[in-house]
């Protein structure tokens, strides 16, 4: 390898990363074309070629829109509940010490076990997906907010107090600016949680959302369309995550 090439690669690890991904795709392509039964796996070339066909399958665009809607609503509700509960609990030391263990306990439970109950309660339509997303996202946000309050250095509060700051001034000028990165970290975790919850519920049972189509493509042994649809969902998930992640970085500049 020439020196110039080596220098270029060492300064751009992203290029090597891309090369790794491409290598994996090539292995996948070869394996799918020549070694494995086409009923179970589809080569990436064919998947990409048929993305248009997936999109044209009746009901798929609508299903994607509905899923996006479920995600948006679940995220909004989780954020509102998560922020209010997180701040209310986090700022009051007694509430924090007694309530947080309960929240942690609930957060650690395998919520997937009660998914059937959510369906029974809310039906098989979007409301159950939204509700399941909310339960996943809210806990994550509450925990992130409380963690943010916990790492406010007491010396900053003492300093403000020594300069004569009132309670309101302390909240406005010390606590609030400190919490902004935590808000965004909470929203990032909340988005992950909501994605997980909504998608799990969709995969369980769905008549209008994309879960309906993943089931259909699986039962008809159509790996090409299935890969394609799931790739679209993965891209959607990555995009949503990226948006929240970038927002977090932008607002945490002072750290």
């Amino acid at each position: 390898m020439t020196d110039a090439l080596r220098q270029f690669l060492s300064r751009h690890p992203g290029v090597v990363r891309l090369a790794v991904v491409v290598a994996i795709l090539i292995v996948w392509e070869i394996a799918a074309r020549f070694f494995i039964d086409p009923m179970f796996i589809a080569p990436p070339s064919r998947v990409i070629a048929s993305l248009g066909a997936v999109w044209d399958t009746s009901g798929v665009p609508a299903a994607l829109r509905i899923t996006l809607f479920e995600l948006a609503v679940a995220f909004a509700i989780s954020t509102i509940i998560g922020l209010t509960v997180g701040l209310a609990v986090g700022l009051q030391p007694f509430a924090r010490r007694s309530v947080m263990p309960i929240i942690l306990l609930l957060y650690g439970l395998p919520q997937i076990t009660i998914l059937p109950i959510f369906i029974l309660l809310f039906g098989i339509g979007p409301p159950s997906k939204i509700a399941f997303g909310v339960t996943h996202g809210t806990f994550a946000i509450i925990i992130a907010i409380v963690a943010g309050v916990q790492n406010l250095k007491p010396i900053l509060l003492t300093s403000a107090r020594s300069m004569g700051a009132s309670r309101w001034q302390i909240l406005r000028w010390v606590v609030f600016p400190h919490m902004i990165p935590s808000f965004f970290a909470g929203m990032r975790l909340g988005m992950s949680g909501v994605l997980l919850g909504v998608l799990l519920a969709e995969l369980y049972v769905s008549t209008q959302g994309i879960g309906h189509f993943t089931t259909m493509f699986t039962e008809t042994f159509d790996p090409t369309k299935l890969f394609g649809l799931i790739a679209m969902l993965a891209v959607m998930a990555i995009t949503l995550n990226e948006i929240v992640r970038r927002a977090e970085i932008r607002f945490s500049r002072w750290r």
């Binding site: 250095k153 010396i155 900053l156 003492t158 300093s159 403000a160 107090r161 020594s162 300069m163 004569g164 700051a165 009132s166 001034q169 000028w173 010390v174 600016p177 400190h178 902004i180 002072w254 750290r255």
Partner: protein, 273 residues
């Protein structure tokens, strides 16, 4: 010293943490009385845990003593007195999400300085500490020494008569301490502020103070007060003079046993030597 000259009067202050019999019980400060004159710079020096920081917090109204009282400018201290007292802490107390100038202005907002004066005061104090060019930087972008200068600027802009400094240079390296000490002396020779300064460093105490109060080991009380009769601003040559060395040696002699006592106490508390 008459009560008119004394900016700060400390009467019989003692403090303990917890109740006798508690696992966490600590007698931090034993019966301490002291008068601090207007315009003087008094250093509190002593072994770790002797209560000098506790005393500083009591003077500043951040802590109520178990016993005793403090009068500042003739008034009894019952809580923070932001119009009269400004603090500088060892730990960095600048708000990391604000720039330097925003930090300075925030202090004035808290104290209640009218908005119209914020700009001029901030500019003046930043120039006084030599940070005028860094006004729009964030604390994370500055060195430790510059951060403490910024903390000083914030305190100065509050235009209080009294400045309480708790080991402000403790986290800095020797060279930065030296420079900051000299600059502090120059700065303070121009103002009439009363300053109480806690430090661990013998050289720093002799260089900066008009008087040095030496504390005994815990529970601390004032063992002896040493006078440093040298005009401000202290010149760098003072440090190499015989007078300086003699004073420093005196401090060393007073402190050495107290420090040994403290170290052996804490070692035996941990079950080993």
């Amino acid at each position: 010293m008459t009560s008119r000259d004394a900016a700060i009067r400390i009467r019989g202050v003692s403090h303990q943490f917890g109740e006798a019999g508690d696992k966490q019980f600590v007698r931090a400060l034993a019966d301490t009385s002291l008068d601090i004159a207007r315009g003087e710079l008094l250093c509190l020096i002593g072994p770790s845990g002797c209560g000098k920081s506790t005393l500083l917090n009591v003077i500043g109204g951040l802590m109520t003593p178990s016993r005793g009282s403090v009068d500042v400018a003739g008034k009894p201290v019952r809580g923070p007195m932001p119009r009269d007292i400004a603090f500088i802490f060892q730990e960095n107390a600048l708000f990391p999400w604000n720039t330097i100038v925003e930090n300075v202005r925030l202090g004035m907002l808290f104290q209640g300085v009218p908005k119209s004066e914020h700009e001029t005061r901030a500019k003046k104090s930043l120039e006084a500490v030599g940070l005028a060019e860094f006004a729009d930087h964030y604390p994370a972008q500055l060195s430790g020494g510059m951060r403490q200068r910024a903390a000083l600027a914030r305190a100065l802009s509050l235009e209080t008569d009294i400045l309480l400094m708790d080991e402000p240079f403790g986290a800095l390296d020797e060279q930065t301490r030296m420079i900051l000490g000299e600059d502090l002396s120059v700065l303070l020779s121009r103002t009439e502020k009363t300053i109480v300064f806690v430090t661990h460093s013998l050289g720093e105490a002799v260089f900066l103070a008009d008087r040095v109060a030496v504390f005994s080991a815990r529970p601390g009380t004032v063992k002896k007060i040493i006078k440093v009769d040298e005009p401000h601003p202290r010149r760098p040559e003072f440090v190499t003079s015989e007078k300086f060395t003699a004073l420093r040696n005196e401090l060393y002699a007073l402190l050495h046993d107290e420090i040994r006592k403290t170290v052996s106490e804490s070692a035996s508390a941990r079950g080993g030597g």
